[in-house]
Symmetry: C2
Subunit: 537 residues, 2 copies
């Protein structure tokens, strides 16, 4: 599928999905209508076939069988899809492209790439789908004073290698893209049900390396919790964790690999917990006159033990942007799903809780049974919402191309901390938007709910100043990150640390844990070739 359709070299996603001039004009009009302070203006698009500097080193013989120095291959592995990446791509800047792209076909070839890099002191950047929004796959930043950068693309380590239907476990190659994974699992009636927003273009290995947040709004949502065991090739050899559903034998080895962001080695495959595809789905939406009441209802739901699969709270701006509500109310979307049982009792109690906290039901409650011939199409509204969710990153690229800055950031904090954190963040970001963009909009939704706190997700939009894009973005990003840190929120709930979040992560991380990570890095990656600049050193 990937082979027959080409990804944009600079923008999010498929090249043929980038809106044409007429569509971009339409987006510009829509933006102007929604945010009167913005004055979108069409910009000329960058070339899809940019100039790429020659590689700084020749191809090593040991890698020739599965590596290339082709300019386009190198250009497309230059960076991820953070806002600064889009700006650089828009400017046609590929000065920092990797010197070669290796595409190993098995763990032994992964080890060989690391050997070559260790022997020559080259940096190795593991590359899955290239969707990092935190500079996690930035070849230029990885280079430092190293002689070369090798992009280690995992796309050949893809697909389901082994299936244990009884234990509901699948051994999956780290380079498997979301859609291919779900398509292969579906033939067995299974699903991983892990849908980060990058789903279409990100890989299992990337999800594991960055501790991605997935589909479930409550309960087991982080990829960590769906992981049974995993394998990571380090410069010192293979680290393969013991297979068990649960163990109390020492600190958990898998938890050291999860979130290591390529800095300790290359995740090559994992045994993942899969589930039968859900049959029953029960949903409702509840509106709240003010966001604070919605927050209280969300908390009650998170602490109820009902464990809805979906529980998203949108503030009034988010509700408007998502075309859910236009009357200034906040909305709590509630969903349950099961392959085992109908969910009427679950949803009824969830709706009752939301109503007890001042909510008004504006949609549902409805339950659908996929085995019911009168239930209509199996997907329906769910599929529409999912498509809109996956299309959001496309919009960011389109907006950039009409001179509009848009980006998101996320955190998690306790329920007690949230009111102050929210006030600080909104104030800081609005002030930065006013200063940098002459105004703008900041909105908030909860993407995940825990009994002890929410994961608030912020979106901001403002006007870009030609030539000042990066400075504008940096000022706003710093203001947001400083506000998060000051209010006690984590610097990231599911976007990872990469290189962008390092200054705040380094302060958030206990100093002695930083020392421990450095000690591990020295042990597993003594030449410090694995994704330099990420996590440690």
């Amino acid at each position: 599928m990937q082979g027959t359709r080409e990804r944009s070299i600079w923008a999010w996603g498929w090249r043929d999905k980038f809106p044409d001039d007429a569509a971009r004009t339409g987006i510009a009009q829509l933006v102007r209508a929604m945010v009167p302070t913005l004055a979108p203006a069409m910009r000329a698009l960058p070339p899809e076939d940019p100039a790429v500097p020659a590689p700084g080193v020749p191809m090593p013989d040991e890698l020739a069988a599965f590596a290339t120095q082709d300019p386009r291959s190198r250009a497309t592995r230059s960076r991820g899809r953070a806002f600064p990446d889009l700006v650089a791509g828009f400017a046609g800047d590929y000065a920092g492209a990797p010197d070669l792209v290796a595409t190993p076909r098995d763990g032994a070839e992964v080890a060989r790439v690391l050997e070559v890099c260790a022997a020559r002191g080259w940096a190795c950047v593991p590359f899955g789908g290239g969707t990092s929004v935190v500079g996690g796959v930035d070849a230029a930043l990885a280079r430092g004073d190293r002689g070369a950068v090798v992009s280690l693309d995992l796309n050949k380590l893809a697909g389901i290698c082994e299936l244990d239907m009884t234990s509901r476990l699948a051994r999956i190659g780290a380079g498997t893209l979301g859609p291919a994974l779900e398509a292969e699992l579906e033939t067995h009636g299974l699903t991983l049900r892990h849908y980060p927003q990058s789903f279409e273009f990100s890989t299992l290995g990337g999800w594991l390396a960055t501790r991605a947040g997935g589909h479930y709004a409550t309960g087991p949502t982080r990829i960590d919790e769906l992981t049974h065991a995993l394998s990571m090739v380090t410069p010192r050899g293979l680290l393969e964790t013991h297979r068990h559903p649960g163990s109390g034998a020492g600190p958990e080895a898998a938890r050291l690999v999860l979130g290591s962001e390529g800095a300790l080695g290359v995740i090559t495959e994992a045994w993942m917990r899969v589930v039968p595809r859900p049959r029953w789905r029960a949903t409702a939406s509840v509106a709240f006159k003010d966001f604070t009441a919605g927050v209280t209802a969300a908390r009650a739901l998170a602490q109820s033990g009902l464990a809805p699969s979906n529980a998203r709270l949108l503030d009034a701006n988010e509700a408007r942007m998502h075309r859910v509500r236009f009357d200034g109310t906040s909305v709590l979307l509630i969903g349950f799903e099961s392959a085992d049982h109908p969910l009427g009792a679950w949803l009824a109690r969830a709706v009752e809780l939301a109503s007890d906290h001042g909510g008004v039901v504006v949609s549902g409650p409805t339950e659908r049974d996929d085995h019911d011939p009168h239930a209509g199409t199996r997907e329906g509204a769910g599929a529409a919402w999912r498509q809109a969710f996956f299309d959001a990153p496309y919009l960011q690229s389109s907006l950039l191309s009409i001179g509009v800055l848009s980006d998101t950031f996320e955190t998690a904090c306790t329920w007690s901390q949230f009111p102050e954190l929210h006030a600080r963040v909104v104030t800081a970001v609005q002030r930065a938007l006013d200063e940098e963009c002459g105004g703008g909009v900041v909105s908030c939704r909860f993407t995940h709910l825990y009994p002890d706190g929410p994961a608030p997700y912020y979106t901001f939009v403002g006007a870009l100043r030609a030539g000042g894009e990066l400075a504008q973005w940096r000022a706003i990003k710093h203001a947001a990150s400083d506000a998060l840190a000051a209010a006690g929120g984590t610097i990231t709930h599911h976007h990872a640390v990469g290189r962008t979040h390092r200054p705040w992560y380094d302060r958030e991380r206990p100093a002695l844990f930083g020392d421990a990570l450095r000690a591990i890095k020295r042990e597993l990656d003594p030449r410090s070739i694995c994704n330099p600049g990420v996590l440690v050193a």
Copy 2:
């Protein structure tokens, strides 16, 4: 409470709860009736006031304000409550007692103990409730070639320090014993609901250090999952993890501390996720003609998404020993509980699932609402079961005193692995019992269920040979552990590694993760004074 009642110096639990001669005679008769091959014989009990060697070092001035060299204090911190510990205690052997017992009153005094130990090269053994069944607090084994051993007792760092009702979080001292913790939480209508079998005599810090398995049979059961943040004093200083409900910022720091078993430092306090005390409880028991059918039903329940709080499968021997069933059937005990909602729909589906797999309901389904004045006493059967559960360790001491060997071990494996693992383990243990004890009984229950596999828990009973107790136990323990390892099970699901499980843990642990742990140990505990012999080196 602890102050007015004395713990036995050698046996499990309260000294006044140890059965008198008449009661022990009764136990002997009962054992003979249940296992005809056993011939229990009363043994003389050891002195409760044994000889303790003089300390090998004088009291350092820096610790004098909060440490003692009193013989009894030192004797009671000599070891935990593993079978070899009971044998040593029964023999009155306190040759390895620690040289002094420090009872720091705050984190600064904990740090001072570590400073003194580091400066002098002494071993420091953190001591919570002293209930380790794996040699985790063994002063003699910690000593090695070190000049002295300091037992660092955490009992002064106890109680709830801070409460966040909104976020349902409590900051709790690591030395807090289970009953004191629950009593204090109850005054706020809260509970941690973490009930390891050692609950009465173990501490929060011990649960955290050993990744204890708790009350819930499915869902969040391990103490890890109830932990919001924690503090550990290391020889290099304080490691305090960031407070958040969930974060994707790097590998999770708390997960390095959890399971570190005192080898990296001393856990002093933690923010724990607490919940309102349950109001509704729904229960049922389902019998199966054969264990295999029960296993299949347990698997269906674990994979249903219903997340019962209790789901224990007892094989026929366990059912008999627990006085639940005497007809050779296996039994699945199912329980749900909630502070938020009645559980009829949940239990009905669970019972239906069990019935679909050949089960016959033998008790319930019943649901109790604590707010219903006609519901009877709030505790009832639950309290009786809980008491029997907590009393089981007492029985082990009593059996030893009448010449009967009894012990337990546990593991976790995938559902696919279980049939072969079970066959191997039962065969190996039965053969060892036959060889070492001239026969005996081995039984199995599932204490915890995961979607990808069960946590089988084995109990074995045989006749002791006077003077050969340790050799007998070792032979059986080795046979069991080798069988677990050969079949792919983890060496421990919730008893921890300590010193007993080290040989198997060292093979189970990925070699490179072992290297990583050693690197961390060198970083945080450069003089290697923290619980030497545990986890690494």
